[in-house]
Symmetry: C2
Subunit: 376 residues, 2 copies
């Protein structure tokens, strides 16, 4: 008997006019990737960019899928980890794509997590002033967040993601099966971003997650549903504000604090991964909102309880090793990109699912808050 055909994937459209594209979410999509790409972009060649971990687990199947669809492809495998989002590796990917003599209509494919996606999208955006780009996100974080919306970038000594561009993919293929090889810690980190959509403006989704998070972790329909709901949520915000001149900043809920913490540990993934920083950051954002009398302390406690239940860190004290002091953390925040004319911009909240952009948060308030919450 034949194996059962994979379920039809869920389709989420990112509505960006002539740059609109599909996100397909479901089981078996790596095996079908070649066919999905070839049907949308006939006659192309491809360069696959991936990292060592993903190469070990999924590159062979992915390459085979392209080959059987008649797409000639070369692959570049980069070291895994946040430090790969550097000028050095950007140049390496650019060189590889040029050496493969790909033309503007050929495609650069990111097969990996957010690191591979951000770096590859940036490279695709600048080779020949913009090549086609396909995202095949393999981490939960990448499936629900970084692969959607066209933000690409690298880190520099001055901070995270300060250099990059907007370059939309032509297609996103989120295979929910590949998440089974993802370390649990990374799965949890991605879950933080799922929870974020609930906290931004979907209180019912947050309640659903509180009740069903175990099924999201174990896989199947609840996982696909959570990923699709997250993509829909992000796609909606991105369609409203592609270039982050307004509402898109809501997606930074938890990220101002989170990025400062990532800087504080020098992007050392053994101490803190992005989603963990976001989890702590979201708890801090709710507490900070409570301190500013914007939401009730109960909301902050509810958020903390849920993130703790799934196993995410919720306080700075849980980060192993010493942290820089509060003044230094504030300096990291001030260098972050959400600074406008000296005043600090934060995403605050009036309660679960009621986040908003606050543009004039006094640095002194942030500093006393950081001091109170600092473990040192």
């Amino acid at each position: 008997m034949d194996a059962p055909a994979p379920d039809q994937p869920v389709r989420v459209e990112v509505g960006l006019g002539d740059r609109a594209y599909d996100i397909l979410i479901g089981s078996g999509l790596v095996a079908r990737a070649g066919a999905e790409i070839a049907s949308r972009m006939p006659g192309i060649r491809a360069a696959i960019v991936t990292d060592e971990n993903v190469a070990a687990t999924h590159l062979e199947a992915f390459s085979a899928s392209l080959e059987s669809a008649g797409i000639p492809a070369t692959a570049v495998t980069l070291p895994a980890g946040e430090r790969t989002k550097s000028f050095e590796h950007l140049q390496q990917v650019v060189d590889a794509v040029l050496d493969a003599r790909l033309e503007r209509r050929d495609v650069v494919v990111a097969l990996g997590g957010g690191v591979v996606g951000d770096l590859t999208g940036f490279a695709a955006g600048i080779v020949r002033r913009g090549m086609r780009f396909v995202q095949v996100p393999t981490s939960l974080l990448a499936q629900v967040d970084s692969s959607v919306g066209g933000k690409t970038g690298i880190n520099t000594s001055q901070g995270k993601n300060l250099v990059g561009l907007f370059h939309q993919p032509g297609l996103v293929l989120a295979d929910t099966d590949v998440l089974d090889t993802l370390p649990l810690r990374e799965f949890r980190a991605g879950y933080a971003e799922i929870a974020k959509y609930g906290l931004i403006d979907r209180p019912d989704f947050f309640s659903w997650l509180e009740a069903n998070w175990r099924d999201v972790f174990s896989g199947g329909a609840a996982r696909t549903r959570a990923i699709a709901e997250s993509c829909r949520s992000k796609a909606e915000i991105v369609a409203r504000d592609e270039f982050e001149t307004g509402d898109r900043a809501l997606l930074n809920l938890g990220h101002t604090f989170g990025h400062a913490l990532e800087s504080a540990v020098a992007y050392d993934g053994t101490r803190l991964v992005h989603g963990e920083g976001v989890a702590i950051g979201m708890v801090l954002a709710h507490r900070f909102s409570a301190r500013l009398n914007q939401c009730s302390p109960d909301d902050a406690r509810r958020v903390e309880a849920h993130l703790k239940a799934v196993g995410l860190p919720t306080s700075m004290a849980e980060i192993p090793g010493a942290l820089p002091d509060a003044d230094r953390l504030l300096a990291y925040i001030a260098q972050d990109k959400k600074v406008s004319r000296g005043a600090l911009t934060f995403i605050l909240t009036h309660g679960v699912g009621q986040s908003y952009i606050a543009r004039d948060v006094p640095a002194s308030e942030v500093l006393s808050f950081l001091r109170e919450n600092h473990p040192g």
Copy 2:
């Protein structure tokens, strides 16, 4: 008595919808730069990027102009020359802009020739995913060509301008006086691009140049007129096809051969500067068109005669030093970005002012033509 007020500059608008911007062309614009920028972008700070030659001649006046308009600015001075369009210097400019803590609405200013403009525009396009950008072109080539249209980029070992993006400036200030410090050789090189607009689709302009080129070289009204006509010509083509998916390729007249020659001398500006490559390339493009029975040999001779009259090189034999053989030149052409699915794309012509895009030029024809015209 007060000094006479500078003449009103000529204004050319680049019509790109919500990214439309002005090019101002005329005398005294460096001195007025601060006022022109401040009136359009109130309250900003600036980073000025320039090169050693331009820093020595014009940076002081330019900085003073910004200062007197209340625009705080820092300056980065790069080595002069084509090799500065590299990943290394891109990173240097990016670092300088980030270290100056400029925000997204602040402005990065390119004060220099096409090298500074292309590199700086690229950096401005990727810092914080796109900062404001002002071009103050100081070479003739930059005033009539590279500062208009938003193409930015750098060179890599694989070829010229293969990496970059489209990032439109918010304002272009072309001060015709600064050209007086430009070496004559560079002025001539820029003139090649002026002649190009005539050759593409303005036969009357080409005839006017044949009659008036001496006045363009000596300055005054004829110079301003030639620069403005060139900007208008380029702006029109760019407005029709911002992202070079069609007509914009016409601007590559002479450039396919020209870039191959630049590669052949490894961008050694002592042997060949860009505009000289374009001059030789335009003569070759006309001869090649004649060989393919697309235009009369008389047209090719007329183009050659005019470019020779102004002192530009018109044949490969005039490039000092040995050139790689014809096969190698063809390889440079094939790696150039105007290659699509193996067939070579060339800009050919039916006569002066009648250029067109030919998408299926057989490589074998190019090779025999190169052999015939090769000096070795």
